[in-house]
Chain length 252, copies 2
């Protein structure tokens, strides 16, 4: 599996990803799931991927080829971020269709990939999109400022509590790391290295980035601090007074 | 959906359940998912259920009929808790098979239910079992003292951090409530009332129980305290120093 999250804020965007891939429990590997494209001063894109690694690599290859050959539609000639999301959906479907099997040959193979694409084009607003395997896509809302792909549930509660559009990039990065750490703690298919990329609104280049191996001091420190702080937070909860058991209240 | 968790401790067992059922988003109802059976001083069982409500009710009805008719196998004449788990698996499969459709009639109907059964019989040790729709079952390990059914992922990280066999019943109950609250916060298909039942080792009766409506003061207080404490815990995390972006490190 995979866990990736992108958080869209007033100040810019945080992209976070793990690096574990597996095709069966004895075929576990490390692949970055963060890809970047861009022309400094003109436009920047970051892409996060979850799902079939063959599809992901084929999609990234096609994006690069389209840029290189200056195809009619490519990431470097689009005017709007939503056009880029639509283009990504088309490329993703094309690559999936090459390997799709007839519906009745249910052998468990699944070529689907899901993507998050974010960034900024010129003076257009920065933003993030999640592109489904079917090619359609969504962006964030005013209330829900993040998009997740892969093993998303374990790390969702902390995002729901902390993330608002006014949160700083640094706080959002720490929140993404806590979300990632909770996921790695509860699910072995999500694992380091962890990558965090920040995009600062209107910078039109990527500058701030973090790459954490499993034994990196800051990540270990954050993990221990969070574990301690959570235990403290738990110990400060209001104490509990039992009521008496009433069989009529419960199902019987 | 549903979220239920049972936590097996040195001191006894905590059972926790939500009460929301849904068969489509316009058919949302409230049903307790906690059922108890027992003879005070002799044996006690608590049952938590997730999945098809028809199957769950049919299983509970059959359990009660088997007790009433003093069937050859019923909860009141078994010697071991694992026999009770095996019996529950057989009853569950029988009820599911009544309504199972041919494999090729893929109309989305699913009669499956999953159960957690826990309690104590006489001088045998107390324990908990999760019974899968297929009828087989597992219990806890020394390291993993809890079993979850239904929408289990959102509430897992806090259990992983707090629960050990030496935790008190009161702390485990609070941890189950935090786990439940995180799940209700992130997933609308899990909802109040919340029930918590404690079984104290060797008591052979149920005494301590809590039933929380959505607006119950303790549950609201716990929710706000946890939210505040988490935000404080987050604000105390070590601050972050950005590194510079290196396109070679990420996927490209």
């Amino acid at each position: 599996m995979t866990y990736c999250v992108a958080i869209s804020l007033d100040e810019g965007i945080i992209f976070a990803s793990d690096s574990r891939t597996n095709a069966g429990i004895d075929l576990v590997s490390t692949y970055s799931k963060l890809y970047t494209f861009g022309i400094d001063g003109n436009r920047q894109f970051a892409l996060l991927s979850a799902g079939n690694l063959g599809t992901t690599q084929a999609v990234v290859t096609q994006i690069k080829r389209d840029i290189k050959s200056n195809a009619e539609k490519n990431l470097y000639n689009m005017q709007y971020l939503s056009d880029a999301a639509e283009y990504l959906g088309i490329v993703s479907r094309q690559q999936q269709e090459k390997y799709s099997l007839p519906a009745d040959s249910n052998n468990g193979f699944n070529p689907e990939s899901t993507f998050i694409l974010g960034g900024q084009i010129g003076t257009e607003p920065h933003g993030v999109f999640m592109i489904y395997p079917q090619g359609n896509f969504i962006t964030v809302s005013m209330q829900t400022r993040y998009l997740q792909i892969g093993e998303s549930k374990y790390g969702k509660p902390i995002l729901d509590r902390i993330i608002k559009s006014t949160v700083s990039l640094e706080d959002a990065a720490r929140c993404a790391l806590v979300s990632m750490d909770s996921t790695m703690h509860s699910n072995v298919s999500v694992g380091p290295p962890v990558e965090i990329l920040a995009y600062r609104k209107d910078a039109l280049k990527f500058e701030d980035y973090l790459y954490f191996d499993a034994d990196e001091a800051y990540l270990l420190g954050l993990r221990h601090a969070w574990d301690d702080n959570i235990k403290q937070a738990f110990s400060k909860l209001p104490s509990l007074q039992w009521g008496s058991f009433d069989k009529k209240l419960c199902g019987g």
